[in-house]
Amino acid sequence: MRQCFLLLLFALAACSKPAPSTQLQLDSVYPSQSGGVLVDAMIAEPSGLIPMIAAESASSAIASHIFNSLLRYDKNLELEGDLAKSWDISKDQKTITFHLKPDLKWADGKPLTSADALFTWQLVTDEKTRTPYASDFKLVIKAEAPDPLTFRVNYAQPYAPALDSWSGLQVMPEHLLKGQDINTTSFARKPVGSNYYRLAEWKNGESLVLSANPLATQGVPKIDKLVTRIIPDPAAQFLELMADNIDVMNLDPIQYSRIVPARTELKQKIALYKELGNGYTYLGFNLKHAPFDDKRVRQAINYAIDKQELIDGVLLGLGEPIASPYKPGTRWVNPQLKPYPYDPAKARQLLKEAGFVDHDADGTLVKDGKPLAFEILLNQNKERITSAVLIQRRLKEIGIKVTIRQLEWASFLGRIKSSDFDVVILGWSLSLDPDQFSIWHSSQNHPGQFNFINYNNPKVDKLLEQGRLELNPDKRMKIYHEFSRLLLEDSPIVYLFEGYGLPAIHKRIRGIDNPAPPAGIGWNSQDWYIPEPLRRKEIAP
């Protein structure tokens, strides 16, 4: 009997469900109004919502809606106050004093004061806290909260990246976390913050729901609820976007430029945006392995790679070439530097100078009896794989034999961290501060550190050290321009490209700043709104 009932249910389920209404007036103009739900998707589930502990992108994406830091970046990527209304730097550049905004509250109604900032600093620098981010904050030799609206920190030496670090440290509530073990507290699943949203519900493995926080420090966001669904398969995510079950998704170049424009029903309801992220993809040489210790070989390979072909082929044109390790449009980019042009003749000549000759005209360059051949290591990222194949072809044309090896992420990281590779294709995702000490300084090449290509240039070392001490932005700029110039000349890596972020957002979401300002389209997401007639009808308010 029970089986019959179940069968009947299946039959019912299989019957037509009414198709979602497509009669929405998606192109009309509507004034801003509050309410509505925005649904987006994530591939992985956050491990926890305490930002200093849960470092992966899934967690920080959600946590960024819940917590505030002392500072943040505005739409033009200049620092402005978040919890702080202003800040002063002392004349000797070793002390920063933050002045907090008055009447700040936590989502549970308790006041937010400098005591919370002090508590957060103590937490992040505590030996027992399992956080990867302590190093910047350990440079603070003294921190104090003389009154509820003032928080002061002292450094032993001027530390230029300090302000950027404070924009990344999210302030935690002392009254809820004091006495708890931050590594295991249930606060990670039931956080209380001060930002626009608070966590309303977390259905394990399924979704997280954030609802507007009426006590938010900066005011109330327009959209009432943010629902993030956990959909591990990107193909399924795209199908959900098509079926109108999610509103936002980051597309890949093919979806963006071939698939969406080809389907009228998609074009009608989905708007495409373009923004520059803050990272780049590169080909890195292991400078301890011959022949990559020879600058001419590195430069030759740089000339032999056609960067525009990579952008056209891999990103379908949706990216930019770079010549500095910084985001285009920011002051840290040296405007006088240009990427290495595609010049196979020059490449061949440089290799000849380095002693690589094709003796027997069989298409391979040889030196001292050994052919010029190496292995490119990468993980299973499609863009990088495609780039590798295109690079392999170009290098073959000048006589270099390249093999490609893909590894699964954890194995790949293992080999990188122990410098067990010849050449690697990887990407950097960078903070907005120009300091890149941990990547390029010669002291950072121990196993597990980030100078795994073993770059060692004393002039660059000095510039990196100076850059950390110089707080004046114009002087800093000069230091980093020179640093970029030396880096380009040395070519320890080949800058391949910087790709665009390609968000696709349902047209029901309004208020998006387009074209995207330097901070990306998300900078004013609290002002995005969904006009009432366009809201999802199935969801009860």
């Binding site: 098509m242 093919i254 080809a262 056209d312 082929g313 794989i385 194949v389």
Partner: protein, 272 residues
């Protein structure tokens, strides 16, 4: 042999497997394009006169990749099953012939291996080692010998009491001789059937692993990993999802038909 050909299942199975084998064997000759040739100007073209099965996300000809994928899938199938059969026959023979503690131990080992969800085990091992063709073949082989072991053991248990065995033993034949010359040849039927069916199953497992990204790695073509691409662009490039799936279905069907057909044809009971 006549019995085999008379059995319709076996005939169909034989036909299909022979076709796939030939296609795989002669892939380099048949394939119109180099399966690894990337052409970024021909991305995701639908099937046409020049590209019979269209192109993939990197402009590679799908038909050529399918042919070479056949080689990979079949090779994995054959080698993996080969490993499984060798292990299974050895263990089953020892177990069935010697009995006693050896038998108990081997049978418990079989129980242990049968209790662990196989796909989980394969997944874990492959993910921890590097996904490569050899690893896949070995791992599938090491996790599918249990069936053969039981079959061979069962055959040995029933055969060892038969007259021809007892008399050969009485004549002074050594153990090894008995096992390899007399008992095994008479146990061939279930081994053959199991091998053929095992190939079908191995092809399915390999394509599943490749689909998840833990099998054959790109740029090497495998039906499973062509499907992974197909998954991304399913609403746009139906050919990437349709053809590899059909190929897997067809091939696996062939081996299953052949296996079941052989079992029907060679099973002494049905000659009654």
């Amino acid at each position: 042999m006549k019995r085999v050909l008379a059995n319709p299942l076996a005939c169909w199975g034989l036909g299909i497997t022979v076709i796939t084998l030939l296609l795989a064997l002669f892939a380099p000759a048949i394939a119109p394009f180099d399966p690894d040739a990337i052409d970024v100007k021909q991305i995701l073209l639908s099937p046409s006169a020049s590209h019979w099965m269209g192109t993939d996300g990197l402009g590679r000809d799908v038909f050529s990749r399918m042919l070479f994928g056949a080689r990979i899938s079949l090779m994995v199938g054959f080698v993996a099953v080969g490993i499984a059969t060798v292990i299974g026959v050895l263990l089953g023979a020892i177990s069935g012939y010697y009995r006693g503690w050896v038998d108990i131990f081997i049978m418990r080992l079989v129980d242990v291996m049968l209790s662990i969800p196989t796909f989980f085990l394969i997944l874990a091992v492959i993910a921890f080692l590097t996904p490569s063709i050899w690893n896949i073949m070995i791992v599938i082989g090491l996790t599918s010998w249990m069936g053969v072991t039981r079959l061979v053991r069962a055959e040995f248990l029933s055969l060892r009491e038969r007259e021809f065995v007892l008399s050969t033993k009485a004549l002074g034949a050594g153990d090894l001789r008995l096992i390899f010359w007399h008992l095994l040849p008479n146990s061939l039927t279930p081994i053959i059937v199991s091998t053929v069916l095992g190939i079908a199953s191995a092809v399915l497992v390999e394509s599943g692993l490749s689909f998840l990204g833990l099998g054959v790695q790109p740029p090497q073509a495998s039906w499973g990993n062509i499907l992974t691409d197909g998954k991304e662009y399913i609403q746009f490039a139906w050919w990437l999802s349709l053809f590899p799936g059909l190929a897997i279905l067809f091939t696996v069907l062939g081996y299953n038909l052949l296996g079941e057909g052989l079992r029907d044809a060679l099973d002494p009971r049905t000659t009654n």
